[in-house]
């Protein structure tokens, strides 16, 4: 028997009658959706015929609220739509505003931002490296992932005061200088996580049960990934070799050799592996940034006027967020609030691919695929 035949068991009363397709809702409240995502499935027995992701259950009107908040208050909201990549989301907003205002950020702030952004990426990926196996039944990895998360969170809390919503970016740099000795402690944390990753790696990467659940399941082709605008680890696992840190460097990523982790299989396991290897790459990048920070002196922010007003015009900034490409389109009419700040979020694009990814798969594989698309519902609905 082939593997495919083993996977599918036909059970029935044997009357030979055609069964009617069943419409089934997964969610909006389901533990594997990282929020409230609803999937409207049409099922033929155990097989998914059609899938429609219905988004919006977590819509909080972030973009509309941006229009009545000044640029500092926007950061408060911006780091909340994707609660796992708070630092990276703050960064995108301030980059757009700085671009429009023509502010040059001090070099020390640039490298500190990069170090913190990479640490934030590790935090985000560790969350998914723990939760994804959990969703398909492997309970242990999450404890290892959270042990490492704690190490990095301690470092980020020491610098910013927050464990999730850092509020550390400001227009023109960072809120304040890091505490004395922080870079050394951050380096120690990076080393410790690198050692801890060996455990997480050994426990799940080649685990036979995990492989059986993920290899060859939910294959997303590079063409489909591109068509849906998927980005980040999801797209790179399909062989779409795109990483803004290398291809359109912002901050000072251009001065670094950013390794882009890719796979070609495009299945759930490839997506998981991209995430896993990306953690190592990000730890190396964070280390390089911290070393550079230690060689730089000077301020970490610029003096701003009492009331920050972006000049009339528009600017676009996009960043390689942990989950993929996030874009920020800022339109200003010279007020102290933006006229419009449009978000292009990675999760939103990634989750659209479910429409083609799920039809044809089996219901038990559904969670494996859903979890491997690595999205945060807050980031979809904004």
């Amino acid at each position: 028997m082939t593997a495919e035949a083993l996977r599918e068991v036909t059970a029935g009363t044997g009357t030979g009658l055609d069964t009617a397709d069943m419409v089934l809702n997964i969610g909006p409240q389901h533990p594997s959706t990282h929020g409230v995502l609803r999937l409207r499935l049409v099922l033929d027995g155990e097989r998914v015929v059609a899938c429609e992701p219905i988004v919006g259950y977590m819509h909080r009107g972030a973009e509309k609220l941006f229009e009545v908040r000044d640029y500092r208050q926007i950061i408060v909201l911006a780091n909340r739509h994707d609660w796992l990549s708070a630092f990276a989301s703050e960064l995108g907003v301030v980059l757009a505003v700085e671009r429009l205002m023509g502010i040059e950020v001090p070099e020390r702030a640039v490298w500190l931002r990069m170090a913190l952004a990479e640490l934030n990426r590790v935090l985000n990926h560790l969350m998914f490296l723990g939760s994804y196996p959990l969703e398909i039944g492997a309970i242990t990895p999450v404890f290892y992932a959270f042990r490492e998360r704690e190490t990095i969170q301690a470092v980020l809390e020491e610098a910013s005061g927050g464990r999730m919503h850092y509020m550390f970016n400001r227009i023109g740099g960072l809120k304040e200088e890091v505490p004395a000795g922080w870079t050394d402690r951050a380096r120690t944390a990076v080393d410790s996580v690198r050692r801890g990753m060996a455990d997480l790696d050994a426990i799940i990467r080649r685990n036979d049960i995990f492989l059986a659940r993920t290899v060859g399941v939910g294959v997303l082709s590079a063409a489909d990934a591109a068509a849906y605008g998927a980005s980040g680890p999801v797209a790179r696992a399909s062989g779409l070799d795109l990483d803004l840190r290398r291809d359109e460097p912002y901050l000072a990523y251009g001065e670094l050799d950013v390794p882009v982790v890719t796979r070609t299989a495009g299945d759930c396991h490839a997506r998981f592996e991209v995430l896993l290897d990306q953690v190592y790459a990000s730890l190396d990048l964070a280390q390089a940034c911290l070393d550079r920070v230690d060689r730089l002196t000077g301020p970490v922010n610029v003096r701003l006027p009492k009331v920050v007003k972006a000049p009339e015009g528009h600017a676009y900034a996009w960043t390689e967020n942990p989950l993929g490409i996030n874009g920020y389109y800022l339109v200003s009419r010279g007020e102290k609030t933006p006229w419009r700040l449009k978000l292009r979020t990675a999760s939103y694009a990634n989750v659209q691919a479910l429409t083609t990814l799920l039809p044809g798969c089996l219901v038990p594989d559904l969670i494996a695929i859903l979890g491997s698309m690595f999205f945060v519902v807050g980031d979809i609905d904004k």
Binding site: R108, P179, A180, D208, G298
Partner: protein
């Protein structure tokens, strides 16, 4: 691909190794966590420094600070006219609305607001999360001194100002 079951064996080896190590768990509440001084736990109010300028209440993104005040005349001996002074009647922060962004602490020009890492103030009734000036003042005792800045960066604003004042005096 290797021998079947190799991945499982590797995983079990990790589990075995971890079993011999000390547990990572912190025994809260028996052991209190060590929080860094910048930790944003609760906002403390140093009432003496507050001039009722309302900046914090205005800049708060979700308007969770409530301030009432009245004016009083202070007669200064030797001065031609009596001076007017703002007197604080009410200073409440609603921690059920607060987003812990720290903008109020940042904008306060007279250093009347501080972050404290204290976090154990959960309540059974959400209305009890409204901390009045009394309660906010009590948090002052838990405010830690700020950490020294990285010597490669710029010193804190307060340090620079103090040094300047010491130099000019």
């Amino acid at each position: 691909m290797g021998v079947p079951g190799e991945g499982l064996a590797k995983g079990l080896a990790v589990t075995l190794k971890t079993m011999t190590r000390r547990s990572h768990t912190q025994q809260y509440p028996d052991v209190q966590p060590e929080l860094p001084p910048r930790s944003r736990g609760v906002i403390a109010l140093l009432e003496e420094n507050c001039t009722v300028c309302m900046l914090c209440a205005r800049e708060c993104p979700d308007w969770c600070i409530y301030i009432d005040s009245h004016k009083e005349e202070v007669v200064v001996p030797g001065a031609a006219r009596a001076r007017q002074r703002n007197v604080l009647d009410r200073f409440d922060i609603d921690f059920s609305l607060c987003m812990y962004c720290g903008i109020c602490v940042e904008v306060c020009p007279f250093d009347a607001l501080y972050w404290s890492p204290e976090f154990e103030y959960a309540e059974h009734d959400i209305r009890d999360l409204l901390h009045g000036r009394q309660r906010l003042g009590e948090w002052m005792a838990t405010v830690p001194p700020p950490p020294a800045h990285d010597p490669r960066g710029e010193p804190a604003k307060e340090e620079t100002a103090a040094r300047k004042r010491a130099g000019s005096a």
